[in-house]
Symmetry: C2
Amino acid sequence: MAVGTVLITGGTGYIGSFTTLALLDAGYDVVIVDSLYNSSKVAIDRIELLSGRRPDFYQVDITDEKALDEVFAKHPAIDSVIHFAALKAVGESSIIPLEYYRVNVGGSIALLQSMTRHNVTNIVFSSSATVYGDATRFPDMIPIPEHCPIGPTNTYGRTKSMIEDVITDYVNAQRNNLQKEGKPYQQWNGALLRYFNPCGAHPSGIMGEDPQGVPFNLLPLLGQVATGQREKLLVYGEDYPSRDGTAIRDYIHVVDLARGHLEALNYLRSNQPGVKAWNLGSGRGSTVFEIINAFSAVVGRDLKYEVVARRAGDVLDLTANPKLANEELKWKTEFTMEKACEDLWRWVSNNPQGYRQEPPAELLAAIKKA
Amino acid sequence: MAVGTVLITGGTGYIGSFTTLALLDAGYDVVIVDSLYNSSKVAIDRIELLSGRRPDFYQVDITDEKALDEVFAKHPAIDSVIHFAALKAVGESSIIPLEYYRVNVGGSIALLQSMTRHNVTNIVFSSSATVYGDATRFPDMIPIPEHCPIGPTNTYGRTKSMIEDVITDYVNAQRNNLQKEGKPYQQWNGALLRYFNPCGAHPSGIMGEDPQGVPFNLLPLLGQVATGQREKLLVYGEDYPSRDGTAIRDYIHVVDLARGHLEALNYLRSNQPGVKAWNLGSGRGSTVFEIINAFSAVVGRDLKYEVVARRAGDVLDLTANPKLANEELKWKTEFTMEKACEDLWRWVSNNPQGYRQEPPAELLAAIKKA
């Protein structure tokens, strides 16, 4: 019998697929809804290959409340939601902001309404360290703790911050309203998970990030340089006041991140804390040059890069203080940034076309043997 | 020929109806959409009585994008929108926050999408001083200037602040995108009008605020005490560090406020400034006791009140610095708080049932004569 049944929105995406795997491995049943707008159904096959279990899947847009209602109605065992479904490209969000507000904020409102109608009362939300904006503007806020003031500097970050507010106000209201009526209220809970820089791939080499179009994160771009799909990496600025002049980020292995979602869900179900925000990061900051060096070491040759001017909106340092998650969720990262580089290289070198090609037979054979 | 044609959402509500009147008097054609959820169609008859012109009216919910499309399609002359339609009870917003986010934020997104499809590119938005939250936490921020940091302390205020962000990001993106394509972009403009405490009624005595259910603002409550519909006024706290211990607010006559919308619209159409925020307030703060005294003087007798404990979330002082609107919009308040008390008393004493009764014949006769 399953530990519980969880709806994962955006469950075929990068972090969503790894979280699905983590939940299946922990004994949960999983139902996925995803529009497949920016992901592939092949992810489900890989999840099944790795876990031996296949999640239910429905192609549903997160703004389609009626379709969400049908999924909840069909799966009355669902008691919790992990909510990833969103548009997520920072640059694009400044070009088509209304679409970002409609899908991300409007979709989250639709989801909460549908959850309420079906008495599904735990939500783990895929937020982002982007909500902090430039934390270096505050003294003593690096590494960043959860009480750092929110101040997103782009539309994508603003949608995440707004959804945090919507979930916080709604869960608090549901608890207050039920408590006033003398009814049990503790079942309403929300986790706001602020991730730093997710990276890496599954150690098996058959599951990883499969960005449509041009990737916009450092490691996938470096992966393309290594596979020859991209000539060189652009490094935006080497005049930051860091140890080597490049900007500092906190890279977190996607397998660790997925486990963070599992632990947050378990915490909500066991402790019924209301709404809480947790940083999911390693606490270790790496510069751009350190990442280039680590990935080059894994690949076995120097990767070409060019230093260009700083990008508007970029900040010096986004490193997490993960103490709260370490203590409350009993979660901390187990894999290093170097391990993420190894796993990423295994993924991109074996699957340069991502999910649009079959993985090498020897990788599949190794999984069947294990 | 009309100066222009404007869609007013929420145009039968309190501030919406006065703004409709101001626009008609200034030569604009007006089309109203309103759900009538918290207002009365009778307001349109009163507008016609006072202006001699009748705005077009459609009963449309602001979240109904298809219905909005139909109105724009039917009135291709519309070039601007003044957007009032929203849920507006601060207390209620903490009980049913999801409905507030759905209607206010979701409705504004739907409106902007529909505007875009019909090439309607100026929006004047009904924001609120509530977006500032407790400005007394900053030194030198009373009276409050527009650059005071935003920090709403309740769900209603958060919906207003989110809509400000949505409009700002969207108008800026539309301008940037069009400019990059070498197309005219200056037609996209937004005014964020942050009002302080609207009050008063039309000097004719036939048009005013007609709250459904229990009013939640000081002057309407005092009006009910004066007409005997309410036993006494509750005063929340007399231990504030103000001149008499009660909280300070900036009361602005609704006729002045309506004119502020007209001036903001004219400014957008003439100057095409992009997005700008303006405070609409008098710059004069009045305490609760000062309001009670002023209204009692108008009524001609002492009105009963009782001092009780402070309300959670109330702040000491919300007084506007209206300098920016004074200078840029060439707008300032012409009517005092005392004049607002007079006009309010003329309204409530002659229409204790609001729009659910005919006004006294002598008031109607005076209008016809004028």
